[in-house]
Protein backbone atom coordinates (compact mmCIF):
# COMPACT_ATOMS: atom_id res chain seq x y z
CA UNK A 1 0.00 0.00 0.00
CA UNK A 2 1.48 3.30 -1.10
CA UNK A 3 0.75 6.44 0.92
CA UNK A 4 0.79 10.04 -0.27
CA UNK A 5 4.43 11.20 -0.34
CA UNK A 6 5.81 7.65 -0.61
CA UNK A 7 7.86 6.59 -3.57
CA UNK A 8 5.41 4.97 -5.99
CA UNK A 9 6.15 1.37 -6.95
CA UNK A 10 7.90 1.08 -10.28
CA UNK A 11 6.50 -1.34 -12.83
CA UNK A 12 6.60 -2.42 -16.42
CA UNK A 13 3.43 -3.84 -17.95
CA UNK A 14 2.40 -4.73 -21.50
CA UNK A 15 -0.37 -2.90 -23.32
CA UNK A 16 -2.92 -4.47 -25.65
CA UNK A 17 -0.29 -4.64 -28.42
CA UNK A 18 2.34 -6.19 -26.15
CA UNK A 19 4.34 -2.95 -25.91
CA UNK A 20 5.75 -2.42 -22.43
CA UNK A 21 5.14 0.77 -20.45
CA UNK A 22 6.44 2.19 -17.17
CA UNK A 23 5.88 5.41 -15.22
CA UNK A 24 7.84 8.39 -16.56
CA UNK A 25 11.44 8.71 -15.31
CA UNK A 26 11.41 12.49 -15.20
CA UNK A 27 7.82 13.58 -15.59
CA UNK A 28 4.35 13.27 -14.10
CA UNK A 29 2.43 10.02 -14.51
CA UNK A 30 -1.26 9.32 -13.94
CA UNK A 31 -1.88 5.64 -13.22
CA UNK A 32 -5.53 4.68 -13.55
CA UNK A 33 -6.72 1.25 -12.48
CA UNK A 34 -9.78 0.54 -14.56
CA UNK A 35 -11.55 -2.30 -16.36
CA UNK A 36 -14.15 -3.26 -18.94
CA UNK A 37 -16.99 -4.63 -16.85
CA UNK A 38 -17.55 -1.97 -14.19
CA UNK A 39 -20.23 0.70 -14.74
CA UNK A 40 -18.30 3.21 -12.63
CA UNK A 41 -15.17 2.75 -14.76
CA UNK A 42 -17.27 3.06 -17.91
CA UNK A 43 -19.12 6.12 -16.64
CA UNK A 44 -15.83 7.93 -15.90
CA UNK A 45 -14.00 6.62 -18.98
CA UNK A 46 -14.62 9.51 -21.39
CA UNK A 47 -13.59 12.09 -18.79
CA UNK A 48 -10.30 10.29 -18.21
CA UNK A 49 -9.64 9.97 -21.93
CA UNK A 50 -10.30 13.69 -22.27
CA UNK A 51 -7.89 14.49 -19.45
CA UNK A 52 -5.17 12.46 -21.18
CA UNK A 53 -5.86 14.41 -24.37
CA UNK A 54 -5.63 17.74 -22.52
CA UNK A 55 -2.44 16.95 -20.57
CA UNK A 56 -0.13 15.84 -23.33
CA UNK A 57 2.92 16.44 -21.10
CA UNK A 58 1.67 13.90 -18.53
CA UNK A 59 2.05 10.16 -19.06
CA UNK A 60 -1.30 8.43 -18.60
CA UNK A 61 -1.38 4.66 -18.07
CA UNK A 62 -4.63 2.70 -17.71
CA UNK A 63 -4.22 -0.66 -15.99
CA UNK A 64 -6.72 -3.52 -15.87
CA UNK A 65 -5.87 -5.75 -12.89
CA UNK A 66 -9.03 -7.85 -12.69
CA UNK A 67 -9.18 -11.64 -12.55
CA UNK A 68 -10.26 -12.47 -16.08
CA UNK A 69 -11.07 -16.10 -15.29
CA UNK A 70 -14.08 -15.03 -13.26
CA UNK A 71 -14.65 -11.86 -15.29
CA UNK A 72 -13.99 -12.78 -18.94
CA UNK A 73 -14.95 -9.32 -20.14
CA UNK A 74 -11.69 -8.16 -18.55
CA UNK A 75 -9.50 -10.59 -20.51
CA UNK A 76 -6.64 -9.33 -22.65
CA UNK A 77 -8.65 -10.25 -25.75
CA UNK A 78 -11.61 -8.19 -24.53
CA UNK A 79 -9.27 -5.29 -23.76
CA UNK A 80 -7.82 -5.52 -27.27
CA UNK A 81 -11.31 -5.48 -28.79
CA UNK A 82 -12.25 -2.44 -26.80
CA UNK A 83 -9.14 -0.48 -27.74
CA UNK A 84 -9.70 -1.38 -31.39
CA UNK A 85 -13.29 -0.11 -31.27
CA UNK A 86 -12.84 3.02 -29.15
CA UNK A 87 -10.73 6.16 -29.23
CA UNK A 88 -8.22 5.50 -26.44
CA UNK A 89 -5.85 8.33 -25.56
CA UNK A 90 -3.64 6.24 -23.28
CA UNK A 91 -2.21 2.72 -23.38
CA UNK A 92 -4.36 0.05 -21.73
CA UNK A 93 -2.11 -2.25 -19.72
CA UNK A 94 -2.76 -5.75 -18.41
CA UNK A 95 -1.70 -6.51 -14.81
CA UNK A 96 -2.11 -10.26 -15.10
CA UNK A 97 -0.31 -11.07 -11.83
CA UNK A 98 -2.15 -8.26 -10.01
CA UNK A 99 1.21 -7.38 -8.43
CA UNK A 100 1.05 -3.75 -9.51
CA UNK A 101 -2.49 -3.27 -8.22
CA UNK A 102 -1.45 -4.87 -4.94
CA UNK A 103 1.68 -2.71 -4.66
CA UNK A 104 -0.34 0.47 -5.17
CA UNK A 105 -3.17 -0.70 -2.91
CA UNK A 106 -5.73 -0.25 -5.66
CA UNK A 107 -9.20 -0.88 -4.29
CA UNK A 108 -11.65 -0.09 -7.03
CA UNK A 109 -12.06 0.52 -10.71
CA UNK A 110 -11.47 3.31 -11.27
CA UNK A 111 -8.76 4.19 -8.77
CA UNK A 112 -6.47 7.07 -9.79
CA UNK A 113 -2.86 7.61 -8.67
CA UNK A 114 -0.73 10.60 -9.69
CA UNK A 115 3.05 10.35 -9.41
CA UNK A 116 5.30 13.41 -9.53
CA UNK A 117 8.54 13.81 -11.47
CA UNK A 118 10.50 12.51 -8.46
CA UNK A 119 8.47 9.31 -8.44
CA UNK A 120 6.43 10.15 -5.36
CA UNK A 121 2.68 9.61 -5.02
CA UNK A 122 0.89 12.98 -4.90
CA UNK A 123 -2.78 12.12 -5.50
CA UNK A 124 -4.91 9.07 -5.00
CA UNK A 125 -8.65 8.63 -5.34
CA UNK A 126 -11.60 9.24 -7.62
CA UNK A 127 -11.43 11.27 -10.84
CA UNK A 128 -14.04 13.69 -9.48
CA UNK A 129 -16.97 13.82 -7.08
CA UNK A 130 -19.70 12.13 -9.15
CA UNK A 131 -19.54 9.36 -11.75
CA UNK A 132 -22.98 10.46 -12.91
CA UNK A 133 -22.02 14.06 -13.73
CA UNK A 134 -19.86 14.39 -16.86
CA UNK A 135 -19.64 18.16 -16.36
CA UNK A 136 -17.26 17.58 -13.43
CA UNK A 137 -14.69 16.58 -16.05
CA UNK A 138 -12.30 14.64 -13.79
CA UNK A 139 -11.80 17.81 -11.75
CA UNK A 140 -9.95 16.23 -8.83
CA UNK A 141 -7.44 14.59 -11.13
CA UNK A 142 -7.02 17.85 -13.08
CA UNK A 143 -6.51 19.83 -9.86
CA UNK A 144 -3.71 17.50 -8.85
CA UNK A 145 -2.06 17.68 -12.27
CA UNK A 146 -2.36 21.48 -12.42
CA UNK A 147 -0.77 21.80 -8.98
CA UNK A 148 2.15 19.54 -9.85
CA UNK A 149 2.71 21.23 -13.19
CA UNK A 150 2.83 24.55 -11.31
CA UNK A 151 5.40 23.14 -8.90
CA UNK A 152 2.92 23.00 -6.02
CA UNK A 153 1.48 20.33 -3.77
CA UNK A 154 -2.05 19.22 -4.68
CA UNK A 155 -4.50 20.83 -2.28
CA UNK A 156 -6.61 17.70 -2.20
CA UNK A 157 -4.09 14.85 -2.18
CA UNK A 158 -6.52 12.08 -1.35
CA UNK A 159 -10.19 11.34 -2.04
CA UNK A 160 -12.13 8.13 -1.47
CA UNK A 161 -11.95 5.93 -4.56
CA UNK A 162 -15.39 4.89 -5.78
CA UNK A 163 -16.21 2.01 -8.07
CA UNK A 164 -16.39 -1.74 -8.33
CA UNK A 165 -13.99 -3.66 -6.13
CA UNK A 166 -10.83 -4.91 -7.81
CA UNK A 167 -11.52 -8.54 -8.67
CA UNK A 168 -8.66 -10.35 -6.96
CA UNK A 169 -7.75 -13.88 -7.88
CA UNK A 170 -8.69 -16.49 -5.27
CA UNK A 171 -10.95 -13.97 -3.56
Amino acid sequence: MTAIGDRAPDFTLPDTDGVEHSPADDGITAVIFTCNHCPYALAWHDRLMEAARDYANVRFLAINPNDSERYPSDSLEAMQERVAQEDWTMPYLRDESQDVARAYGAQTTPDVFVIDADGRLRYRGAPDADHNDPSLNAAWLREALDALLAGEEPGRPETPPKGCSVKWKNA
Binding site: P39, Y40, A43, R70, H131, N132, P134, C164, S165, K167
Partner: protein
Amino acid sequence: MSVVPPVELLWWEGCPSHPDALADLERILAEEGVSAPVRMVHIESDEEAASERFPGSPTIRIGGEDIVPPGEGEPFTLTCRIYRLRDGRISPTPDPEDVRAAVRRAREDT
Protein backbone atom coordinates in the same frame (compact mmCIF):
# COMPACT_ATOMS: atom_id res chain seq x y z
CA MET B 1 -51.71 4.80 -0.37
CA SER B 2 -51.59 2.25 -3.18
CA VAL B 3 -50.18 -1.22 -2.76
CA VAL B 4 -47.96 -3.08 -5.23
CA PRO B 5 -46.57 -6.64 -5.25
CA PRO B 6 -43.43 -7.31 -3.18
CA VAL B 7 -40.50 -5.06 -4.00
CA GLU B 8 -37.01 -6.52 -3.74
CA LEU B 9 -33.56 -5.05 -4.18
CA LEU B 10 -30.92 -7.70 -4.77
CA TRP B 11 -27.37 -6.56 -4.07
CA TRP B 12 -23.78 -7.67 -3.79
CA GLU B 13 -21.16 -6.02 -1.66
CA GLY B 14 -18.62 -5.75 -4.51
CA CYS B 15 -20.59 -2.80 -5.89
CA PRO B 16 -21.19 0.40 -3.95
CA SER B 17 -24.31 1.22 -5.95
CA HIS B 18 -27.08 -0.36 -3.89
CA PRO B 19 -27.50 2.53 -1.41
CA ASP B 20 -28.08 4.93 -4.31
CA ALA B 21 -30.47 2.48 -5.96
CA LEU B 22 -32.37 2.02 -2.68
CA ALA B 23 -32.62 5.79 -2.13
CA ASP B 24 -34.01 6.28 -5.66
CA LEU B 25 -36.46 3.40 -5.22
CA GLU B 26 -37.78 4.55 -1.84
CA ARG B 27 -38.12 8.14 -3.03
CA ILE B 28 -40.06 7.08 -6.10
CA LEU B 29 -42.33 4.73 -4.13
CA ALA B 30 -43.15 7.63 -1.82
CA GLU B 31 -43.68 10.07 -4.69
CA GLU B 32 -46.02 7.60 -6.35
CA GLY B 33 -47.98 7.12 -3.14
CA VAL B 34 -47.11 3.44 -2.95
CA SER B 35 -46.84 1.60 0.33
CA ALA B 36 -44.35 -1.21 -0.14
CA PRO B 37 -41.43 -2.11 2.09
CA VAL B 38 -38.30 -2.92 0.12
CA ARG B 39 -36.90 -6.35 0.90
CA MET B 40 -33.10 -6.28 0.64
CA VAL B 41 -31.66 -9.56 -0.68
CA HIS B 42 -27.92 -9.95 -0.13
CA ILE B 43 -26.32 -12.16 -2.78
CA GLU B 44 -23.06 -13.61 -1.50
CA SER B 45 -21.95 -16.37 -3.85
CA ASP B 46 -22.09 -17.42 -7.48
CA GLU B 47 -24.36 -20.28 -6.42
CA GLU B 48 -26.82 -17.82 -4.91
CA ALA B 49 -26.50 -15.60 -7.98
CA ALA B 50 -27.47 -18.55 -10.16
CA SER B 51 -30.33 -19.72 -7.98
CA GLU B 52 -31.73 -16.18 -7.63
CA ARG B 53 -31.15 -15.46 -11.36
CA PHE B 54 -29.12 -12.43 -10.32
CA PRO B 55 -27.56 -10.62 -13.31
CA GLY B 56 -25.65 -8.16 -11.14
CA SER B 57 -25.89 -5.56 -8.42
CA PRO B 58 -28.21 -3.78 -7.99
CA THR B 59 -31.26 -5.60 -9.35
CA ILE B 60 -34.74 -4.36 -8.52
CA ARG B 61 -37.72 -6.67 -8.82
CA ILE B 62 -41.38 -5.87 -8.34
CA GLY B 63 -43.62 -8.89 -8.04
CA GLY B 64 -40.65 -11.01 -9.11
CA GLU B 65 -40.19 -9.08 -12.38
CA ASP B 66 -36.87 -7.34 -13.05
CA ILE B 67 -37.69 -3.69 -13.73
CA VAL B 68 -34.99 -3.65 -16.44
CA PRO B 69 -35.00 -7.20 -17.81
CA PRO B 70 -31.47 -8.47 -18.52
CA GLY B 71 -30.45 -9.28 -22.07
CA GLU B 72 -30.74 -12.74 -23.54
CA GLY B 73 -27.88 -14.94 -22.34
CA GLU B 74 -26.67 -12.49 -19.71
CA PRO B 75 -24.87 -14.58 -17.07
CA PHE B 76 -26.07 -14.79 -13.49
CA THR B 77 -23.00 -13.98 -11.43
CA LEU B 78 -21.46 -11.68 -8.83
CA THR B 79 -20.88 -8.54 -10.82
CA CYS B 80 -21.89 -4.90 -11.04
CA ARG B 81 -24.76 -4.27 -13.38
CA ILE B 82 -24.39 -1.82 -16.23
CA TYR B 83 -27.49 0.28 -16.87
CA ARG B 84 -28.17 2.79 -19.61
CA LEU B 85 -29.80 6.03 -18.62
CA ARG B 86 -32.48 7.40 -20.90
CA ASP B 87 -29.97 9.88 -22.35
CA GLY B 88 -27.65 7.00 -23.28
CA ARG B 89 -25.08 7.43 -20.51
CA ILE B 90 -23.80 4.38 -18.64
CA SER B 91 -24.76 4.16 -14.98
CA PRO B 92 -24.38 1.71 -12.08
CA THR B 93 -28.06 2.28 -11.20
CA PRO B 94 -31.25 2.22 -13.27
CA ASP B 95 -32.65 5.43 -14.67
CA PRO B 96 -35.07 6.76 -12.02
CA GLU B 97 -37.71 7.14 -14.72
CA ASP B 98 -37.42 3.42 -15.52
CA VAL B 99 -37.99 2.73 -11.83
CA ARG B 100 -40.99 5.05 -11.81
CA ALA B 101 -42.46 3.41 -14.90
CA ALA B 102 -42.13 -0.03 -13.30
CA VAL B 103 -43.80 1.15 -10.09
CA ARG B 104 -46.68 2.63 -12.07
CA ARG B 105 -47.10 -0.57 -14.10
CA ALA B 106 -47.21 -2.65 -10.94
CA ARG B 107 -49.70 -0.29 -9.34
CA GLU B 108 -51.98 -0.41 -12.37
CA ASP B 109 -51.76 -4.22 -12.54
CA THR B 110 -52.62 -4.69 -8.89
